[in-house]
Amino acid sequence: MKRGAPVRTQGPADGGTIFEEGAPGRRASSFAPSDLPPALVPESHRRATPPRLPEVAEIDIVRHYTRLSQMNHGVDTGFYPLGSCSMKYNPKVAEVLAQAPGFARIHPAQPDRTVQGTLELMWRLERALCEITGMARATLQPPAGACGELTGLLMMRAYHGDRGDERETVLIPAAAHGTNPASVRSGGYRAVTVPADARGLVDVAALRDALDGRVAGLMLTNPNTLGLFERDIRTITDLVHEAGGLVYYDGANLNAIMGRTRPGDMGFDIVHINTHKTFATPHGGGGPGAGPVGVVEDLVPYLPVPRVERTDDGYRTEDDVPSSIGRMHGFHGNVGILVRAYIYVLLHGADGLARVSDHAVLNANYLAALLRDVFPPVYDERPMHEFVSSARDLKAATGMRATDVAKRVIDLGFHPSTVYFPLVVEEALMVEPTETESRATLERFADALAQAAEEAASDPDLLREAPITTPVRRLDEVRAARELRLSWRPADGAAPA
């Protein structure tokens, strides 16, 4: 790819919604003739008017969603360096295999003996995740990282509860991902912020001060949200343990450390993993994911049910564990995603996973070095798999903000990095290149950012007007929130049926 090629732009945006396609009475579906007597649903229970679903032919549907797809950027169309998201290449083989009927066409209520393949896969994946994180057992049930966090916090709650120890707060760093405080609240705790020191790391003295008998635990990711390794991690986890708390590892940044260190080795008690980040399961447009949670031995009794156990004659699901916190999902979690994660682990093995982290960290360091002069890093510590720079200086000099740079980068052919997160960094650019990007791509991206920074001074309209190569230009978010058009209405404005 040549430098600065528009990422996509593709097709026009003016195509209208699926509800504007088709014609009354048109339909795509058909059913086999029925040889059964008609249903006897009481009239009083029947729907009065049909739902206003599209009335379209297959060709309408196919063209419509093909067109929409072409208006979307993904890893398969280009670089996607969203910080904290590990937007890496998703191996196609995982997609294909997970769709094998043997995995896709089984019902969650089937007797164990009819689903031995999937139960074995789940058991083996649990073992692998425990080895990678240094935990004793894990639940595969949480369908995403945030649910994993909540699962962990509810286990924390049950653990303290069993000890008659009612605790109230959970400590989190200021830069933590938003799901951390939100999960703390959902778990019935109050979030208390631990400040960072000048290095961008947990301020150990402040932590010491914050710890008391009301603290149920600490949530941390390491490398932290700024991409920096918490050097004092052993001290931190020891301090929390001494105060009777538990330490929770947010696994969103696991991509940095596989084969180098493990949350268990650092003293963490609970770990969630985002399979859709580290293990490259596709999570189109926002999901699905999976958020398995590993725990140390002491917390095993609290793991959700159902669990998968290995016995002498095969694998079985276990539902009856009184100490368990219960169910976190209607069934067994996002099993289809777990299949893909298991495939990723098998493909890579011990050596491959270590190379993943090696090259993820190498890529981030290389890109940070290329950008050093334009968007200087916010902290001096060496970054791990991602880094945070700032457009603060650029803004001071030119008035152009991080968002303007991001939008210009779109016109130069790239998906920009995360901007304005973490909230604690002014004009933040949070960049996670991932290990599957080549040196050449990183160089082109660095060039694009440098060009945008240059243009911020020389030709700021290029930034202000950007993007112009996309199906739509900058969108009016204020109007969206004010008018709240959350579903399509026909032009005559009639309310839904």
Binding site: R47, V115, T261, D265, P496
Partner: protein, 445 residues
């Protein structure tokens, strides 16, 4: 193997720019005492062909619903997913994207989610829907959380609600502090006798776990009378035939969207549906897409009301949900476009017709009775067996059937789920096989 494109020459050149002399040096800040001083204890990486072989061997050890005629349901059921769904929803521009933080590069997903929200609004007759939750069970927990206030912390749940859903709600309630109480339904359906003060929500499933139709309107009136909200758990497949939650005065409607576009996959990824009234929209969890215009006045779509969400509001967010089930929502949108209003109705009628026939046939098996013979049903049939349902289910596997799901709290209750795929011949065969199993005839199990 791995998917990193680095050649040794690349690594060397990159290290030189970074200014270190080895990759190990990049990890120097990891203190000695937490380093893993050995390789991970996992098998070495494998070639794609090897992994494909291993996985297909595992897959072969599952018996699919193509081999066993599927009467198991309970939220997840064996509907025909038209072939166009997989290819379109699987298009890699969709599948390899993430949360549409840059809307200009994400109009495809955003518009599709806007269409999804519209379809859920249309189906449910409610006023707003979000862009997906994890599954039906967690959607219930989220809906309950929406109704809790400082002085209303009790949730009244019907005995007709699927115990799996209640169990999930109970787990989440340990964190939210909701008090979950249930009322019995000796007739197989019905509203609570009384709604105590401090009740935040009354939860009804319609059609319920026994397949029975509820009087949602009456329950809603009682709930509203007591200052509580009515949460209806709906079956989206029913909504071509049955009156929608919006018409039944539900305040919140939640459901499991798997039947539209998602494969069974041992129960996940599924699709949590949540719809509400406009007045409650700021309390809704999850992503919400809104229509707006761009600088040139062109219609476009953005994530809206983000101030509800964890990445902005953090501890005060309406929920902790972040990654959700977008691809399933996309698949559901495509499947629903394929069905159209007539197809949806036809599908519902077929499910109901199959259930009516199955109820007759199965209740005719000696020793089997219907759990609630007089209650009108939609597409599940609850039976009382003369033996443990799990044992009968197990025996019927040997005859080629997944006969249904045992009610977790009623060992002899078997719930048989019908979809538009089940034929008269299959239902007849199930009835015959059940009769044989109960009579102790035939192959040893």
């Amino acid at each position: 193997m791995d998917f990193t494109p680095h050649t040794p020459a690349d690594v060397a050149a990159m290290l030189a720019v970074v200014g270190v002399d080895s990759v190990d040096a990049l990890f120097a800040q990891i203190p000695e005492d937490v380093r893993l001083d050995r390789a991970l204890d996992l098998p070495p990486g494998a070639a794609e062909a090897e992994v494909a072989g291993a996985l297909l061997r595992l897959a072969a050890r599952n018996r699919t619903v193509d081999e066993l005629v599927c009467f198991a349901a309970g939220g997840v059921s064996d509907h025909y997913v038209p072939a166009l769904v997989g290819g379109l929803a699987g298009r890699s521009e969709f599948a390899t994207s993430y949360t549409p933080y840059q809307p200009e590069l994400s109009q495809g997903v955003l518009q599709a989610l806007f269409e999804f929200q519209t379809m859920i609004v249309e189906l449910t007759g409610m006023e707003a829907a979000n862009a997906s939750l994890y599954d039906g069970a967690t959607a219930l927990a989220e809906a309950v959380a929406m109704t809790l206030t400082a002085d209303r912390r009790t949730v009244l749940v019907s005995g007709g609600v699927d115990p799996r859903l209640v169990a999930t709600l109970r787990t989440y309630s340990a964190g939210t502090g909701a008090r979950v109480e249930t009322w019995e339904v000796p007739a197989g359906h019905g509203a609570p006798d009384a709604i105590p003060g401090g009740t935040a929500a009354v939860v009804l499933q319609h059609p319920n776990v026994y397949g029975v139709l509820e009087d949602v309107r009456a329950a809603a009136a009682a709930a509203h009378e007591a200052g509580a909200r009515l949460i209806q758990i709906f079956d989206p497949v029913s909504l071509g035939v049955l009156a929608p939650p919006g018409d039944l005065d539900a305040d919140l409607a939640v459901g499991e969207g798997q039947p539209f576009g998602s494969q069974l996959q041992f129960g996940g990824p599924n699709l949590g549906l949540l719809a509400c009234r406009m007045a409650d929209v700021r309390k809704m969890p999850g992503r919400i897409v809104g229509e707006t215009v761009d600088l040139d006045g062109r219609t476009g779509y953005v994530l809206t009301l983000q101030a509800r969400e964890q990445h902005i509001r953090r501890e005060k967010a309406t929920s902790n949900i972040c990654t959700n089930q977008t691809l399933m929502a996309l698949a559901a949108t495509i499947h629903l476009a394929w069905l159209g209003p007539e197809g949806l109705r036809e599908q519902g009628e077929r499910c109901a017709a199959a259930a009516a026939y199955a109820a007759d046939r199965l209740a005719g098996v000696p020793g089997v009775t219907r759990r609630f013979p007089d209650a009108p049903i939609f597409r599940d049939v609850a039976l009382v067996l003369p033996r443990d349902a799990d044992e009968v289910i197990d025996r019927l596997v040997d005859r080629g059937f997944l006969a249904g799901v045992a009610h977790p709290q009623e060992p002899t209750t078997l719930i048989v789920g019908l979809t538009e795929r089940r034929t008269r011949a299959e239902i007849d065969a199930l009835a015959d096989a059940t009769a044989e199993v109960l009579a102790g005839v035939g192959i040893a199990g």
